[in-house]
Amino acid sequence: MAPSTHKVSSLYGKVTGAWGRTAVISVPMIFLLIVFLLPFLVVFKISLSEMDAVFFKDVWTWKEDVIALTVRYGNYVSLTQDSLYINSYLSSLKIAGITTVICLGIAYPFAYFMARSPADRRPTLLMLVMLPFWTSFLLRVYAWKMLLADSGVFNNVAIAIGLIGEPVKMMNTPFSLVLGMVYTYVPFMILPLYANLVKMDLRLLEAALDLGATPWQAFWRITVPLSKSGIIAGSMLVFIPCVGEFVIPDLLGGPETLMIGHVLWDEFFSNNDWPMAATVAVVMVGLIIVPLSLFNKYQAESTEGGRA
């Protein structure tokens, strides 16, 4: 802080400063505690209860001055015993993993070329990447349904030009699901990678080339390691939401690709089993807690990296 501020700030200024600081911090803090953290505690609590005829039973009961805590871990037990849950957890992790790898494979070269293109062209390219993001995600996923259906655009065109005789089944397969996931999430991979690559100090590459590295070596040993934080950020931005994705598996997935987000939805909306839905959610949070803290660590670092 500049020394002159001490001179300026009167007692009044100090008081408003401290008061202002508390106000600035507490408004979003209280909102997040109530709307983000508290609901998780409620979910955890409900996952330990069970359904009676119409509603879940409360974990805490208070009768005649006795507060009783009844923890029912039956939901967690049935989670481990029913292969439906285990399989859908595993297949969610697998599909999210595959999606992340494909996104990285598409996005890294793209972001790299974008960052190395002439500076005056970059804003336009960036806008073209962002533009689909501004049009409804739901509608873009729906569009793939049109393209991939048995009587969809791809099959019709391929039959019309004589490429195939019979429609090829593409919808409701792992293929259509992963395609939809990659399509939706690839911009989330491009943007952090681009932000990282465009800031890179190109003199380091020049130095490597001067010292006799081939361009390929320079790429793998200088560019890729330097873009590590962009790779991590992008991968987490893709992987974590993919694990719990619901809309894409519902519209494009099929019977072989059960994902946990979908299981949660069915438990809640079709079976009306709230405690079970809550249990599924708690275990899902457990699955993503490591990538989530990795993501938070990266975000915190990029926050500290400011000029202030």
Binding site: A2, V24, P28, M29, P39, R116, L138, M146, A149, V243
Partner: protein, 279 residues
């Protein structure tokens, strides 16, 4: 002019990715003018689905509600986002900072089913205790604000980080009180980021299905919920017309906004240059 192999690869890759990104959008637009009720068979040009849309009260009512929610979400998100961004930017040390940063950033990646379910279960408990709130506009707004706030914070925070602290220090040195500094210096400097954050959160809210599906109540069906339930049943021409209209509005809006912003940016650069010359 000879183009190198590297340049060729670069152009090809970029074109292929853009083709991939835009193909579904153009397909939606083209087939919205399709005469045939078989959505993916071309049967000639027609505006019949637009006429049908004009009479589709379910979609129109949903759209009105979605607009209201999105507008409110944009406003509440940028206000909370500004507070959160200021907190993360200014106050490097306070109890609970790590928790705070985690809570701000997590909704960016947290699967929406978890956000929706947990908020709903909490609201149900609150309702059992106090008799309110009923599910509807307010609860959807609350859920969208949680998500929108996270995005708004990221956008506003990155603008704060680019900003030179000397401007605020100068104002302080000249005797401005903290609130004056904020309204006279900081707020004008971050106004552009606030505008983009508002637009983005507005769009996010207008688009959201999952959180709304958990938090909506009887009589409060947003447009995406209606579209989603139709898309689940199969292909529906009405969805295409909605998509085309959205794309039209969004492209006009984005182009207008980008022109306005680049103008504002140029003017600011000129003013800055003039100020430096003057000093």
């Amino acid at each position: 002019m000879k183009i190198s192999v590297g340049e060729m690869t670069s152009r090809f890759w970029m074109l292929a990715v853009f083709f991939f990104l835009y193909l579904p959008i153009f397909t939606l637009i083209i087939f919205s003018f399709n005469e045939s009720p078989m959505v993916s068979n071309w049967g000639g040009f027609s505006l019949r689905w637009y006429e049908a849309l004009a009479k589709d009260t379910e979609i129109i009512d949903g759209f009105k509600l979605s607009l209201r929610v999105a507008f409110s979400t944009g406003c509440s998100s940028v206000i909370l986002g500004t507070f959160a961004a200021l907190t993360l930017h200014r106050f490097k040390r306070f109890p609970g900072r790590t928790l705070f940063a985690g809570m701000v950033n997590s909704p960016l990646v947290m699967p929406e089913v978890i956000i929706g379910l947990s908020l709903l279960l909490m609201l149900v408990q609150v309702q059992r205790m106090f008799g309110f709130p009923d599910r509807g506009f307010g609860t959807i707004w609350l859920g969208h604000t949680l998500l929108g706030m996270a995005y708004a914070t990221v956008i506003i925070l990155s603008r704060l980080q680019e900003m030179s602290p000397s401007l605020e220090e100068a104002a302080q040195d000249l005797g401005s009180r903290p609130l004056q500094v904020f309204f006279l210096i900081t707020l004008p400097l971050i106004s552009q980021a606030i505008a983009s954050a508002w637009l983005l959160t507005f769009t996010l809210s207008l688009d959201d299905v999952v959180i709304s599906a958990f938090l909506n109540g009887p009589g409060s069906t947003t447009m995406p919920i209606t579209i989603f339930s139709r898309a689940r049943l199969g292909l529906s021409p009405s969805v295409n017309t909605v998509a085309t209209l959205t794309v039209a509005v969004v492209s006009v809006g984005v182009f207008a906004a980008s022109i306005l912003m680049s103008r504002a940016e140029k003017r600011r650069a000129l003013e800055m240059a003039a100020a430096y010359r003057g000093g």
